[in-house]
């Protein structure tokens, strides 16, 4: 390991300035990043009082020599960069040489370290404003740094720290992200002497995901891989119906650095367009590896923000790698009767989620098929014409396909019994078909004997005028009809005899509600969604053998067939394993 040196001022000036120590998690982050840079295999974190009382990080990394530890707490002291050019080729987590100095200014710091070459180690205590005092100490190779009483000397800032539980939440969350970036590293956290979690070194990202999200999700994760020389994209994607109400379960890493990057977040959303319910976010672990020269990490002192030299290319690559994996995937939600995975994993997940989401219930939890049905609005008790007894009575047996309650299709598969939501699946089939056709050009418009004339508000009128081309591509020919009406001369032929008026009205109001900033692509997309939703068979529609078979046939090749365009699952699988467990055959 190179030695620590003080950066020359022309380099120091180029470093994004700013305070990095805001709260206990900042300490944890800076210490842990240093441990990672030191090549640690194992990192142990102890905190007290949510980190306000104590943050201690111990690693088994390279350690520091006496000369290094003397310098480590000085401003702009770093072993990681030397000259300005190094700033454009950062391969380490740290490079600013400021963290230890800043921390030593706001907390009581003690560090013990021993480099592998040395026979014994060194210990230093710094209590501002007193100077550091270095003494030899016997210890194993590696480094342990602890910071006590954060902001003991700045009461104004101390006041802003939150409850212990809140601060611990931030720490847990950060460490989880760090652990997910480095599966081969073991990482554990204790709070007030009690273990919060421990993530042992594992051989794969999938195993790591299992630690925090449980075996079920881990098993269902779909792998995406691609990119080019100098830009590799790797992702593990949970089926969209595990979606969350916020982005906290989106883990995005650039060169193993956990980042919060708008561009990449947007790329993820774009790839999930039409696969997930609006305002929900997928669980995804996304790893972008890019040559360090192509990314600037020196944007913000916390290094959570980055800038790509060629943003469009990164965005495009990420979208295409994710989309390809998503659209060809065949996700299925498994039905389990107990809540999934090990209790431990569950507890960790639960505590983190409780803290951050405050409403885990909003997410689609596996193991509750009733929830899926309830959300579909087609639980079978309410059918289109209110004839529910009839629907219930009509179990259409069609060889291997059976329709239940006029709502679900049940079939046997290799690993269990599949229960399919007919509306959701059909919706997806039509949507995929419409999208495919739109890519090729446009939908066919069936002309009408008498144009459908629909009154519009001024806002709707503007929206309609803007979207006229999009409508045209859907086979809908629209023409202004006086001041406050539009005449529609043709209608998508695909939709057959369905109620034109109410569909057009829905399209128009959806369009104007979407605001004016929407692109043609977005407009087309939401139109396609609406079309699919209206044209699909409903819950309660009794399907004949041929209809059932043709639906399954078409679904076989439909892109994104695991979820309806709003991201609800199309099918649940009750595995034979689960059945055997339940019937106590195992």
């Amino acid at each position: 390991m190179p030695r620590i040196e003080i950066l020359p001022s022309e380099v120091a000036e180029k470093i994004a300035a700013g305070e990095v120590i805001e709260r206990p998690v900042s300490l944890v982050k800076e210490f842990v990043e240093n441990s990672i840079d030191a090549g640690a295999r194992s990192i142990t974190i102890d905190v007290e009082k949510g980190g306000k009382g104590l943050v201690r990080v111990a690693d088994d990394g390279a350690g520091m020599s006496r000369e290094d530890i003397e310098l480590a707490f000085s401003r702009h002291a770093t072993s990681k960069i030397r000259v300005i050019d190094d700033l454009f080729n950062v391969r380490t987590m740290g490079f600013r040489g400021e963290a230890l100095a800043s921390i030593a200014a706001v907390a009581r710091v003690t560090a013990g370290t021993r480099s592998a070459q040395d026979q014994s180690g060194w210990e230093v205590s710094i209590e501002p404003p007193a100077a550091a005092e270095i003494r030899p100490v016997g210890r194993a190779p590696g480094t342990t740094i602890e910071a006590r009483d954060l902001f003991f000397n700045i009461p104004a800032r101390k006041k802003f720290l939150k409850r212990d539980q809140t601060e611990l939440g931030h720490i847990t969350r950060y460490l989880q992200a760090a652990a997910l970036g480095f599966p081969g590293m073991s990482l554990s956290l204790s709070s007030n002497g009690r273990k919060v979690f421990s993530a042992p070194a594992v051989e794969s990202l999938r195993r790591r995901a299992a630690t925090f999200y449980g075996e079920d999700i881990a098993e269902d994760l779909v792998e995406a891989q691609g990119g080019r020389e100098g830009l590799k994209v790797h992702a593990l994607i949970a089926p969209p119906f595990y979606s969350r109400v916020n982005r906290y379960s989106q883990y995005i890493y650039v060169n193993n650095r956990y980042v919060r990057d708008r561009l990449l977040q947007a790329a993820v959303s774009q790839a999930f367009r039409g696969l997930i319910e609006p305002n929900r976010f997928p669980i995804i672990f996304l790893y972008v590896n890019i040559s360090p020269a192509e990314v600037d990490v020196n944007v913000h002192p916390t290094k959570m923000e980055i800038r790509f030299r060629n943003a469009n290319s990164v965005r495009g690559t990420v979208i295409s790698v994710l989309s390809e994996a998503l659209l060809s995937a065949d996700f299925k939600s498994r039905i389990t009767f107990e809540e999934g995975s090990t209790p431990r994993a569950q507890n960790i997940r639960r505590s983190i989620e409780d803290f951050y989401e405050r409403r885990v219930a909003g997410g689609v939890e596996i193991g509750t098929p009733a929830t899926h049905a309830g959300r579909s609005g087609g639980s079978g008790s309410l059918t289109r014409d209110g004839t529910d007894t009839e629907a219930a009575a009509a179990h259409v047996q069609t060889g291997p396909l059976m329709q239940v309650r006029g709502t679900y299709i049940v079939k046997e598969s290799d690993d269990g019994i599949e229960i399919i939501d007919q509306h959701a699946l059909h919706e997806r089939v039509i949507y995929a078909e419409v999208r495919r056709r739109l890519e090729e050009g446009s939908l066919q418009g069936q002309r009408l004997l008498v144009p459908e004339v629909i009154e519009v508000t001024p806002a709707e009128r503007t929206a309609l005028e803007k979207a006229r081309d999009a409508f045209g591509r859907l086979g809908i020919e629209a023409e202004a009809f006086g001041q406050d009406a539009f005449a529609f001369h043709s209608f998508p032929a695909v939709l057959g005899d369905m109620d034109r008026r109410s569909l057009l009205q829905a399209l128009i109001s959806d369009l104007s509600a979407g605001g004016h900033g929407r692109s043609m692509e977005e407009a087309l997309d939401s139109l396609a969604e609406l079309l699919a939703c209206h044209a699909a068979v409903r819950a309660g529609d009794i399907l004949g053998t041929e209809e059932l078979q043709s639906l399954m046939e078409k679904a076989r090749s439909a892109q994104g067939r695991f979820a309806c365009p709003h991201g609800r699952p199309t099918k649940l699988v009750l595995t034979f394993d689960e059945l055997e467990r339940r019937f106590r055959r195992k």
Partner: protein, 366 residues
């Protein structure tokens, strides 16, 4: 109540009743049929509250022992009467059950309370419009297929009927095509405009014991009655305004094709094979005395069928939903049909030499 009947007659009666009774299940009592035995015969009635049926079994087909009435499940009774292996079936009320027996089979069917069942009105005692049964069947056949099935404009969910100046008109449309049938009737007769639900009309033909039997029609307030010797179908009329259909008939057509009906039907069916299920459309290319019908499925291939025709006018390409053309051609029995057209984006009119006029809108050519 006790009555002996021919099995055939009973089975047919329940089958008719069942067709009406099964559509609604929100009021379970409507799954039943009411049997009334009186005046030497039996009437079976059923209703879904929109359409009602009164089906008569005459003295020829039954022998009344004791009068009375009973309410029985229509579906189950249809099954029972169809499957009993005997020429004659006896129905007898005993205590709480109705005993249905024939040959060596005996069924005891629990009865529902007669009072719970709504009255199906009888044909009022007024002079009805009397129509030739065959003619009426043809008019129905040539219009009923164009009725809209899912429209919230309820007026389109039925067939519009009216007599103006001695001409009876029946017309149906789903907004994409319109089927109109005209037939001369007695100058004196008249009938106010009425929209008859598709389901009611489809039952009327079954009321005729043979094709020649005349059909009596009577409209009254919001109801229409159809009756023959076998029984009566009464239906609520569809409310709302039927679109001004006469205005839809294209007038300035300048191209005319005369085509063999079966030839065109076969060409359309063949071309339809090569269309994808989600957007069926076929291209008709008229050039000289040649019609070429082309079907294309984007990922599967294409089919092209040639046809000799008589054609007047400039060459024209026009695209249709093949099913629309097939529907009209199958309802017709003519040898030849004509198509009057103007452009690829304007309506075409199909005629078959009878009072039939079918206006069909094309699919945009993109």
């Amino acid at each position: 109540m006790e009555i002996a009947l021919k099995r055939e007659a009973l089975a047919e009666a329940f089958q008719m009743a069942h067709a009406i009774a099964t559509t609604r299940t929100t009021r379970p009592v409507l799954q039943n049929a009411l049997l009334s035995v009186a005046d030497g015969g039996m009437t079976v009635s059923a209703t879904d509250m929109e359409i009602g049926l009164r089906w008569n079994i005459s003295a020829e087909d039954c022998r009344v022992v004791r009068e009375g009435s009973v309410l029985l499940p229509a579906g189950r009774m249809a099954q029972i009467s169809r499957s009993i292996e005997a020429d004659e079936i006896t129905l007898r009320v005993a205590d709480k059950t109705c005993v249905v027996s024939g040959g060596r089979s005996v069924f005891e069917v629990l009865m529902e309370n007669v009072e719970d069942f709504p009255q199906v009105p009888e044909m009022p005692d007024e002079a009805p419009l009397v129509l030739d049964g065959q003619k009426f069947a043809e008019m129905t056949r040539k219009t009923i297929f164009a009725v809209a099935r899912e429209s919230t404009r309820y007026a389109l969910n039925g067939v519009h009927m009216e007599i103006v100046d001695g001409v009876m008109e029946m017309v149906a449309t789903d907004g994409r095509r319109m089927a109109l049938m005209k037939e001369k009737v007695d100058k004196q007769t008249s009938m106010p405009a009425a929209i008859v639900p598709q389901k009611a009309l489809s039952q009327v033909e079954k009321l005729q014991s043979d094709k020649d039997e005349t059909v009596n029609i009577l409209t009254r307030e919001r109801q229409v009655f159809f009756s023959t010797s076998r029984g009566t179908v009464v239906s609520r009329l569809v409310e709302g305004h039927f679109p001004p259909y006469r205005e839809v008939v294209p007038k300035e057509t300048d191209k005319k094709a005369t085509i063999s009906r079966t030839g065109l039907l076969s060409a359309m069916r063949q071309a339809a094979i090569m269309t994808s299920e989600d957007s069926r459309s076929v291209l008709l290319a008229f050039a000289g005395a040649q019609l070429t019908v082309t079907g294309r499925a984007p990922d599967e291939g294409r089919g092209e069928i040639g046809l000799d025709i008589e054609y007047e006018g400039e060459d024209l390409e026009i695209r249709f939903n093949p099913q629309f053309i097939i529907d009209a051609l199958s309802a017709s029995e003519a040898e030849k049909v004509t198509l009057d057209m103007k452009e690829g984006s304007s309506p075409a009119a199909l005629k078959d030499g009878t009072g039939f006029l079918y206006v069909v809108m094309p699919i945009n050519i993109v």
